[in-house]
Symmetry: C2
Subunit: 146 residues, 2 copies
DNA sequence: GATTAGTCCTTAACACATTAATTATTGCGA
DNA sequence: TCGCAATAATTAATGTGTTAAGGACTAATC
């Protein structure tokens, strides 16, 4: 009596499908980032800071979808590159505030046109309706807020 | 005159949405894998080998969505654990063939029930129709075959 | 059959992901 | 105020992702 529980074929596996879709999407983006000298995660951090302004690292980690230990290194790297500042919260010295510098903003703006062109390309390739639908479906799978 | 090219809000960014969806999906799966002693990628390799049988590493890497250097390390690790075998192709000694062992198969079967329960859970939470639709949309974004 | 190019795989180097342990600071209660 | 739990951040350890370079073998060309 072998159990023979039917695992889904790897070809229709949701985790693998998500992985492969992300590979496909990141391809052109990685090309763009190559000549910025920063990584995909560093770009995400800058984007979030530019959109929402200075914030504490906990909020930053959530918005950029990064774990704390990763953010520690990334913030330090971006600081060394002069793209962000790190300051202690005077009220609670455990907390750290991060903000994008003028140089960081300049880096984003220098590539904003290409980045939005790439994003628009994917939107167009799926069609606006299916694209929005996809984003909604993906949001349903995201981890619940805590 | 600031340029003000409209980058999509990070909240509606496709790469970030894919990342967060994957986090959500991997949560329960990671829990399951914790007591197997193997990683998510190692599990993927075993799954592919169990589904398709022995194959060369190039094919294996494609089916498991892994880059070659990663697969080199992962196959070596799985070999040490006694979960796969690695043999040279006698016809072309550059090539390597990988196969799952009985022990590897046993590991999969020991967790197949829980794995398929998790997969079914996601399918149910979205509804079968939207679930299939999601897989189709994701497939459209995957890298083109070469 | 020696040179050359191409293919398969490995190694190296650096950055990130994940989990766990550690440090620094704050807040609370005996 | 002393200790102790809770929170914010860092460090450590292991494994993977990515790019580039290297090594081994094969195939093509002359």
């Amino acid at each position: 009596m072998t159990q023979q529980t039917s695992l889904p074929s790897t070809a229709r596996s949701l985790p693998i499908a998500l992985l492969r879709a992300r590979e496909g999407v990141m391809g052109p983006i990685r090309e763009m980032l190559t000549d910025t000298g920063i990584t995909e995660q560093q770009w995400r951090v800058l984007r979030v800071l530019e959109e929402f302004g200075e914030m504490d690292t906990k909020t930053l980690a959530q918005r950029a979808s990064l774990l704390f230990p990763s953010l520690t290194r990334i913030a330090a790297t971006l600081n060394e590159k002069g793209l962000v500042t790190q300051t202690r919260d005077t009220g609670d010295r455990r907390r750290q505030l991060v903000a994008v510098t003028a140089e960081g903003r300049a880096l984003i703006e220098a590539h904003a046109a290409e980045a939005s062109r790439i994003a628009a390309g994917f939107r167009e390739s799926l069609g606006a309706e299916r694209y929005e639908e996809l984003l909604d479906l993906l949001a349903l799978l995201a981890p619940k807020e805590r």
